[in-house]
Symmetry: C2
Subunit: 561 residues, 2 copies
């Protein structure tokens, strides 16, 4: 066995260590030369009429390179690199080039909301060690943006000198393994401001997460102001200061789009809607009744889905929001419909009896109404897994995207029904798990989805587990999620980052690292890079948590067991 | 059974709900009258020559009352209270009176570091609903400070009016059930700045925690600059910017003292000292050797305790720090001595053989040296439980204070040996548990002390479990602790607060609430008050986390199961 062991050790030694880039590009070659950044470094664009948001992205990248001021994570924080500063070459320029359509470049924000199967985030990057002009090339401005986020992560600062120690760097046609790489935030259990969301989008940009899944409403509050239905937020927001105006929504959408991020808004229906009862009590079953009996958590109340008027109202609400959004996808939720509530609700039972329908047949009609309205607006519906696996829905369009949340084990069943899926499994990706529970009188207070999902656990997720090879194309990607029963602006950064970067690499880099090793089981190689992106986030004002003592962060692999 | 149930419901209804005070005073009576605070409200002192730190405390209380701006946690955030504003009486003045020694009042900072059995934190408070002058009376300035922290928590703000809805409030001789109520921070695994510590002290003041246990050094870094031994921090701090100067230490001690907080510094020995090897390699066994074999976590290395020169050096280091501190207590640590390391260490084995001692006999000598030095400085030693339960130490002085950390089950055994204890059990009070582990290559990454310790779990701790009635006086109190392998300034507030307030009430209020109910099992009554102090912390710039959706926080008991 000795020769095999020796071979493994030697091969392991060739794994690039301490690279600063997260997610690691799918194709990646680098050296170990020092290359300094010129004091007059600039980023040029080699085509005419670049869109304003690309120019803005270049300005941000220039600023980040100056302000990141990240010391390399090694003992001495780069002092050993400085010996080579005198003889190192200097990079004066990075050139951005478009491979296709350079005559009519689209804004990043436009490319960012293209349909998932038409979105092109690929790019190539070359930074040689001789100081010659670096190049980022791509088919789209969105690809150029991805290249910029990679380029930013090459640079360290020591004693005022900005440099990389990885030159030359050659990345050929890096592109994501999966088209959907998301992060979900619930702004209903507790409220988050636009600035909280923007800071989150900044972090998402850094790790190439391309979808902000905005779970904007829930039973606890309705923080979105809709011109056509002002009563919903007036009665349902925690306060006027804790709601999003239409301008706030557009502000978030614009900010996201400029950073290559699509905004998937979710208005969860027909469950998780108690707060609608504050303005439309007739539309809500079990409103504020005993939640232990009629809801998964307080307060109880869900839309009277069997009522055609309620279905039409819901469709109008969804349409009023969806039509203001550039995204091609919109989520109607569909999780945790409480059948006990409807069974006990007189009006619902009367309507079901009058029309001779079962509850799920009525849900089918409700869904046909709401999804039909969205389809007419050009939107593809997104739903939670119960719509397919529990409610026997028959009217779902084939192109519906299904989010698998209850367990990763459910993914295969959804795919077998022919639907496209997004992995959002509670057992890997729920960031809120393991930190207690929000009920008031439980002396232990453990969470239903203990334990805490470590970055390591999330990182080992296999998107294709139990998926047959002919169904691989149905797996769109995945997302990590923050439900906010016990979170608010106070711990947003610390509970999300850097953990949510785990799935960013799972779904960008895929199963195989650029050196040919499997990603799963490669925690030890990943950790130094994750440290690097975490420290960079902190430099950018995102309060991402430590993963190890600094002693370990400065000594890659030394704190492995 | 019906009459019994009815009785219980009626009695339950008399439990004061939504009181804002944490910890709840041991004697407490209040009403439900609105009392407004005058625009010209002031706090007067009825004795001459009040110490400057009492005057400063009054200034801070005046400011907090203005700046807390806390809306009452009910639907409408106080709008229902405002109906009574017009007819409510107005409080113009609070008077601070000293019951004893009013002729020579001591500074708060002096009273705060009195020996534990001589410390007097008791106070009485009266705020009547007729607008007559309120009174806080106490035997000491420290007691007055405690009264001020209670007084501050009476006040809400609605639409510019500062008011309480609990008048009249009468608290007679509130005093802590236990003299030691602490919070421990590890500043060695990751570094925290003086401002991080001060912010933590602010939160501690609010909930009457009276001891800052500063675990200042550990194997990963030595962030304390000691004039006599500058090499320790020069080689052992993460960087010059990540170490505490003597002035920093005094700054923290002063800031704490003014807030009624004693600073218990710990220099952990003989284990947890690898970093001393960076400047004194000859003093450290197993320095940077295989940590899996020779240490509980990386890096390996602990003082060569069998060497008399090392014992003398250690005593000098401890003395150099201890002599600068006003506290009567100082911790020498003593946890997790790794016997495998010493067994494999040639110099240690040689010294043991030459002197004919076992390892633990040598540890006894080492302890006699270090503790003897501390005793000569007037300091009482504090140690971790292994010193008593595992190492068969015979030279410990009887007055040594022992911290029980491995398990709450170990408390009784320590008490049975006659030592005073501080409860610091990992199974109730470790704030870091349940959030992963710091090793680099574990694909699950669960923590050794899963699960997360919820505030509810901590709140149900019984300090006297398995303690016989004649040993009750040996139980000094307890503390919650943050070990910082995976924490830093980024998540300090959110991982500590409001959870660390749990033990503040456990050890101030004791087992019985002022209405006669048992504390344990009273989660439901405690939660609204904990919400209140959490929201107040946030108003004061401490990023304490949410415990429930705001919908629940505004509706006490409605989100109980």
């Amino acid at each position: 066995m000795l020769p095999l062991i020796t071979t493994l050790v030697l091969v392991f030694a060739t794994i690039p260590r301490c690279f600063s880039i997260w997610p690691i590009p799918r194709s990646f070659k680098s050296g170990n030369q020092i290359l300094k950044l010129s004091n007059s470094f600039d980023i040029s664009i080699n085509f005419t009429d670049p869109p304003q948001d690309l120019l803005d992205a270049v300005t941000r990248t220039m600023a980040f390179i100056q302000t990141d001021q990240l010391g390399r994570l090694t003992v001495g924080r780069g002092s050993s690199d400085s010996d080579a500063f005198g003889s190192a070459q200097i990079l004066n320029r990075l050139m951005l080039t478009l491979e296709l359509d350079a005559s009519a470049p689209q804004p990043i924000a436009t490319e960012a909301v293209a349909a998932l199967d038409a979105r092109d985030e690929s790019y190539s990057l070359s930074v040689q060690s001789d100081g010659s002009t670096g190049v980022v090339s791509a088919n789209t401005t969105l690809g150029l943006l991805r290249g910029l986020s990679t380029f930013e992560q090459l640079w360290y600062t020591y004693n005022g000198t900005i440099y990389t120690n990885y030159a030359p760097v050659t990345i050929i046609n890096d592109s994501p393994a999966y088209s959907f790489r998301g992060f979900m935030l619930d702004t209903a259990r507790n409220f988050f401001s636009v600035s909280d969301i923007k800071r989150t989008l900044d972090a998402m940009y850094l790790v190439k997460i391309n979808t902000f899944h905005w779970h904007i409403t829930d039973s606890q509050s309705w923080p979105i102001q809709i011109d056509k239905f002002p009563e919903l937020a007036q009665a349902g927001a925690y306060s006027a200061n804790q709601s999003f105006t239409p301008e706030d929504i557009q502000d978030v959408v614009s900010y996201a789009g400029e950073r290559g991020i699509d905004v998937l808004v979710e208005i969860d229906t027909p469950g998780h809607t108690a707060i609608i009862g504050a303005s439309h009590p007739d539309y809500v079953a079990c409103y504020l009744s005993d939640w232990v009996t009629f809801a998964g958590e307080p307060p109880a109340g869900q839309l009277r889905l069997a009522d055609a008027a309620v279905a039409n109202f819901t469709a109008e609400v969804l349409a009023a929001v969806a039509k203001t959004l550039p995204s091609t996808i919109f989520s109607t939720g569909g999780d945790e419909v409480d059948t006990a509530c409807y069974a006990a609700d007189g009006p619902t039972q009367t309507m079901l009896n009058e029309t001779g329908r079962t509850l799920f047949e009525a849900l089918d009609d409700f869904t046909a109404t709401t999804h039909g309205t969205l389809h007419a607006l050009g939107k593809t519906a997104v739903v939670w897994e119960e719509m397919v696996l529990e409610y026997n829905t028959t009217t779902l369009r084939n192109d519906t995207i299904v989010m698998v949340w209850i367990s990763s084990d459910d993914a295969a069943a959804v795919v077998q029904k022919g639907y496209r899926i997004v992995h959002a499994p509670s057992n890997y990706f729920y960031l809120d798990c393991g930190a207690g529970e929000p009920l008031g009188n439980d002396p232990t207070g453990n969470s239903w989805c203990d334990p805490f999902k470590t970055w390591q656990e999330s990182y080992t997720f296999d998107p294709l587990a139990n998926i047959s090879s002919d169904q691989v194309s149905l797996v769109l990607g995945g997302e990590q999620l923050l439900w906010t029963e016990q979170s608010g602006p106070e711990n947003l950064d610390s509970i999300v980052w850097p953990r949510a970067a785990s799935s960013a690499e799972v779904f960008w880099t895929g199963d195989t690292l650029p050196d040919g090793f499997d990603r799963v089981g490669n925690i030890s190689e990943a950790l130094p890079r994750l440290h690097d992106v975490r420290y960079r986030m902190v430099q950018r004002g995102i309060q991402a948590i430590r993963l190890q003592p600094e002693w370990c962060a400065l000594r890659p692999q030394v704190c492995d067991a």
